[in-house]
Symmetry: C2
Subunit: 344 residues, 2 copies
DNA sequence: CTGAAAGCGCTTACAG
DNA sequence: CTGAAAGCGCTTACAG
């Protein structure tokens, strides 16, 4: 039995089922939707006819007329469906939505604001019930009209600006501060910072936390060992190789996943991985198998996703309270790299 | 400006735009769909009215009547949207679909056949134009009726059974054979196998490849160091710790991601990572930072996703040729663990 | 070039 | 308990 052997035929509609069962179309509708007030004999006839025809209801047609007009679909705009952080958020949102019989349309933004607006618009034109956005853009006023028309919005990972909708974010500043304070406990007095583009809200918050920790410990910031704008592993590695050669920082804080990997590669290349303490923001797979293991300030993407989904469904269900920002704590995962004993 | 300040109002329809612009609804439809034969002045009036009302077309309503009835949506059923392999496939499918203005509804199956059927059915009831399935189940006859009704199917990573639809799969057997042959080149004569449940088609194919390589080299298989059914990192670690203690295999082949991680953890725990050669099937992030780096037979999930999407769109566009299986080569990534010099 | 009528597959509102 | 009519927001098919 292969593809060219099958019989092609149109999808049967309720009308076809009704005709075969000898009932009205409305009775088919009742049976399909498990309305209990149908005579058992008619239920039986309708089910038999539906089975014989291979009838499947058309849910998009149903939602068009159904009161409330919900599509039972939500949109999820992520930085990139294939990066581990986005993917973990996605899974948590999917699980929450699945329990409510709602499907998820996901898309990748790649830090492109224009892509964010286009995709949001496309999803709205599909009439998703709500949208969870990990924003690439910095201006979210475009959602105002959509909110007024009934589409729910929740932002995740980064807050919208202005604060037009709920947001669920990591404690970026507090987490970074705690990470750097942890490093300073090794006794070091100069900490290098390698981070992402400061235009990205989370990068900025983490840099603020870095500064908070230095200030609290009475340590001066040395701008010679502060590097922003690192977007890739390669950029981070090159920046770290240069800084390690020229300035010998006593410890290193990295603000993001890919940056951590690049800097760790550089430390290994220089043979410094056991001598220069490092803490990275955001967890890495396999980080505990490295020598030394990489100490990180881990985010909880599953919690972010679950909480964002919960807020979104509250909004979809009519909650019109003022927008709130929910901050999710981060967690220090001690594995060795952040606890090296300084050779003095 | 915050959420409780907005004005709630219904979404305007084409009828509303038509009334405000003083034209027929059909003219609005023409303008919205960029039909060129509308008088410039009317186009202008319609656009102004639409802008004033914040009109957005309802694409699901449009597709209901549109000939062909396409929804410009496809479904993607993955093992787990958050695992790196699935996520990479997802991204490739998304990119291919995006160029064609098609959105992707993704879902996770977690190796549960029942979930596969339920989700497939749900997506069909939404009238997706086609479905790409990384199957959990072993019987795919349920798709026959759906194919007949016009829904396109492509399987990815594992073939459907019976072969009812196109499939895009890795060269599991050939890749495993090449990986184990590579190990045998170190001079070892006993190779342990740690693998997933043999019921999973890919695991079985990789085990066949393992046996092929031993047979080609004239090495006997030692079932004392063959372990199947490993589903998690923990199970793999425990199995490896037990086998390493009792049987001292000279080299190790692991059939899958999580198994590789568990076995590498066990080797590190025993201090054997520089003495027992290992090759894993499927690549790992950070595998090159470990000491030694982990040599793997890498799959190409992006190629799998792209090719599956290409087949699916061909099918959606009317291709009714017999089903074909497309095999994507794997690639040996040499990093050290598979090239250890045996201490004899 | 423009628009009134009919219809996509279903549900609502209503009458029997 | 059942079904004919009207309508969801749009497009098709057609007449002007």
């Amino acid at each position: 039995m292969d593809v060219d052997a099958v019989q092609y035929r149109e999808r049967p509609t309720m009308r076809d089922v009704a005709a075969l069962a000898g009932v009205g179309i409305k009775t088919v509708s009742r049976v399909v939707n498990d309305v209990p007030t149908v005579a058992p004999e008619l239920v039986e006839r309708v089910r038999t006819a539906a089975g014989k025809l291979g009838y499947r209801p058309n849910l998009t047609a149903a939602s068009l007329r159904r009161s409330g007009g919900r599509t039972n679909t939500i949109g999820l705009l992520l930085e990139d469906v294939s990066n581990p952080f986005s993917a973990a958020v996605h899974r948590a949102v999917e699980d929450y939505a699945r329990e409510r019989n709602v499907l998820v349309l996901a898309g990748s933004l790649d830090e492109r604001p224009q892509r964010e607006r286009e995709l949001a618009r496309t999803l709205i034109d599909r009439r998703v019930d709500g949208l969870i956005i990990m924003p690439a853009g910095r201006d979210h006023r475009y959602i105002v009209a959509e909110q007024a028309a009934g589409t729910a919005f929740v932002f995740i990972d980064r807050e919208p600006s202005p604060l037009l909708a709920d947001a669920v974010v990591s404690d970026n500043r507090g987490g970074a501060r705690a990470a750097v304070s942890h490093l300073l406990r090794t006794g070091c007095r100069s900490v290098a910072y390698f981070g992402d583009d400061l235009e990205i809200a989370t990068a900025k918050q983490r840099f603020c936390g870095f500064q908070d920790a230095l200030a609290a410990a009475g340590v001066d910031r040395d701008d010679a060992i502060v590097r922003h704008g690192l977007r890739t592993v390669e950029q981070a590695r090159h920046a770290a190789l240069a800084a390690l050669g020229a300035h010998n920082p006593e410890a290193v804080f990295t603000s993001q996943n890919l940056v951590t990997i690049g800097v760790v590669e550089a430390l290994h290349a220089r043979g410094l991985q056991h001598r220069v303490p490092l803490v990275g923001f955001d967890d890495l797979p396999l980080a505990d198998l490295l020598k030394p293991g990489i100490t990180v300030m881990a985010q909880d993407p599953a919690a972010l996703g679950r909480l964002a989904a919960a807020r979104l469904f509250d909004r979809i269900n009519g909650d019109r309270a003022p927008a709130v920002v929910h901050t999710v704590p981060t967690r220090l995962v001690v594995r060795g790299s952040g606890e090296l004993v300084l050779a003095r």
